[in-house]
Symmetry: C4
Subunit: 242 residues, 4 copies
């Protein structure tokens, strides 16, 4: 069933419906990749190419378990983080992290997807406010360097969004470890942001174990640059790195 927003062209309604379905489905990757417990993580995606000129994104409803998510109970918001009333009876409250997602979309035009989790090892680095050093080829490939730390910020205003944007603007990394909170990742679409969340936890875990018995050597910057350029352009099918 496609939920229709009032007053939008049919093509836009269809596009929103497809984004709802895609975001709902991608949430299944969070528990599958052991990035979340209970309801503690969320995915959003900007709706691309609306003919009406609206700028909208789709996000998880707050406090709903991953098993119960469907295209229908996703929440549609403006880039100000205001929920769109789509006239359905059981319209839900969006994720409590909606303001942070919205801030990222407003300030980073190339971002089409955002993911937030409290995945164990990434959050452990975040608890120490320590960036993950780029000591693995797979970090150079995916993140193009260290995974940086963003400031400690409380929920409730734009502090978290600002911290994410300021940190990621100075880095090639698609992931930021918000201090004593957890990782946020970005991508060209939601799938790419989910991939970054998966890779962020994996490198956080691997480097955690690696340093238990010695400090791994950082890869030379020129080699990181070479690996990153290759992976972004050559890996995958026709440049699709997701």
């Amino acid at each position: 069933m496609t939920i229709r927003l009032a007053g939008l062209p049919e093509a836009d309604q269809d596009r929103i419906g497809r984004t709802r379905a895609s975001v709902a489905a991608l949430h299944a990757e969070l528990p599958r990749n052991e990035l979340v417990v209970w309801t503690a993580g969320n995915v959003s995606e900007k709706v691309p190419e609306l003919t009406s000129g609206h700028q909208l994104f789709v996000i998880k409803p707050s406090g709903v378990s991953y098993d119960e998510l469907s295209a229908e109970n996703m929440v549609v918001c403006t880039l100000d983080g205001q929920k769109i009333d789509d006239g359905t009876a059981d319209s839900l409250t969006p994720s409590s992290d909606t303001a942070a997602h919205a801030y990222v979309y407003r300030h980073m035009d190339h971002v089409g997807g955002v993911v937030h989790t409290h995945s164990t090892f990434a959050t452990a680095w975040a608890a120490r406010a320590e960036p993950i050093p780029c000591v693995l080829t797979m970090m150079a490939d995916e993140f193009g360097g260290d995974v940086p730390v963003g400031p400690f910020a409380l929920i409730g205003d734009d502090s978290i969004g600002q911290g994410i944007v300021e940190t990621l603007r100075e880095s090639r990394s698609k992931a930021v470890l918000m201090e004593r909170h957890g990782p946020f990742t970005i991508g060209a679409d939601a799938k790419a942001a989910v991939k970054a969340a998966v890779m962020c936890e994996e490198v956080a875990r691997t480097v955690h174990y690696a340093r238990a018995y010695g400090d791994p050597v950082r890869i030379d910057q020129a080699q990181i640059d070479s690996l990153y350029a290759r992976y972004q352009n050559v890996y995958g099918q026709k440049g699709n790195t997701a």
Copy 2:
């Protein structure tokens, strides 16, 4: 099939049957969230609003595997921990932790659900008798501060129940780490207590890894208070924080 207790109004029998079903189903969350091995964990729930005035709770039978649990083989007890004879042929012995659950219900009126596990990381902190410091926003959200340690106590009398109640009364935490034993969690209902058990293990694990390479900084008390108040009131759908 609804099991009928003798001499109770039908409305009460129905209410007990629904609690049996709910408690049986919630046990599946324990292995699913990797909180238990074999049969080593249990969930109970107080039966709400019995018109007959009885105070009853439903708990797991002792030593039965999670795969074999059903509404029918749950055990119904009074708040003294005495099993109710419901006249079924294969009535089972309640969990060996029944006395501790009963003590909590007798002494904490707002508690409607209790969970006990030996989940790995929470039990590791319990083995050292060390509280988990509140160094993550998700701890402030869910527990409102540190997760405290309760005394070492042997099974067989009210020592464990007393230790749980005395520790939790002095804390906002829904979880207590009983020394060299394991965590007990409470909630308004069994689902909330299960959520607390899941979150307790997750923060125990994350902070365990975080401190391997430095001591994470505790969140300021005023900020903890702010996060806790917000989460208890704003998160989820219409105040449902489960």
Copy 3:
């Protein structure tokens, strides 16, 4: 399909068939509880009460994956570890650990089931030749004290079996950590030995993490004795502690 051994009374053939089915099914618990990778673990069970007076046990075939196990491809052996020829076309070679299982059955009459794994944390303690100290109530319950270490021994003769028996005879523990090798567990039947293997790994893991930040205090011997006595007699349904 029941495989019939030549020259045995039908009652004994049926009993062997039931043990084959039970041992095949119990192997599924090893990967399910993450005690094994690939084919590296095995379960055996003595066939009880054969009217013919034969002493037999059923064990896993060597190098066969857990997905492919069935009652039919289990291997039946004498207590000398010699495979019984049951006349089926594709009779398989028994586990390379068969001699160790057989030695245990020959020398410990009360043992009806044996399990061997290389489960990660138990094997980590075994690699250091270090017993697991009894610092958790669940260790006192299940093992009645420390989990002891057995000698380093090579496969190929009775060295491993002797090491298991000599170590377990001096302990209440159902588990022994064979040095630089891995755990063996025993029980009244195969299910009890599988439970002991699951519990052994869980306490090995929990105590591993517990001691990372301090030495947990051993439980007093009198309290261990009390917990052990209670658990062996009171826990479960009618004394069934499996």
Copy 4:
């Protein structure tokens, strides 16, 4: 559906089709054994006994998720790492690690299968450029000694392949930890190489935990030799050690 390569005898086309199916199916073992996240690992297998004299191998397409793999979307390459055009419409780009696999097949005639992962614990040892010492009987069985480290090498030419071959030629090990990159394993066929990848991660994990509280003692070389010889010849059914 069997994909037919142009100009090959039908028997060879069938043989390629069977290898496609086998390689596609074996990829499922990588996530099942938790050796990979997202698309970060690959399996290849040399096509045996082609009557046309061609030397070919089958490998994963680049950047395609494990759920989407099938016999049809596997990629067939020459031992120079050049993709064979099989005339299908959606022919895919082979794994970005194809050159390394091809180099191994060109320089090690006895190798019929190659696996590459970034499995967590093996990669942690690789990050420190530290070989895994042979302190467990299961390491002696499977690897015949330490698991060695290969040089740091960038993707894009034959450096990785050379590093793998030079390291493995001086060892009995089926696994090499490429520095700051991850493990590559070899075998007589792809299934044996997958088994080696599974065992490599398991011993990397177990020895990681073992050394946390002391240095496990290496097994004597003569005993390693004895265990290795026995396992390669006696274990499994009729010498099949997979």
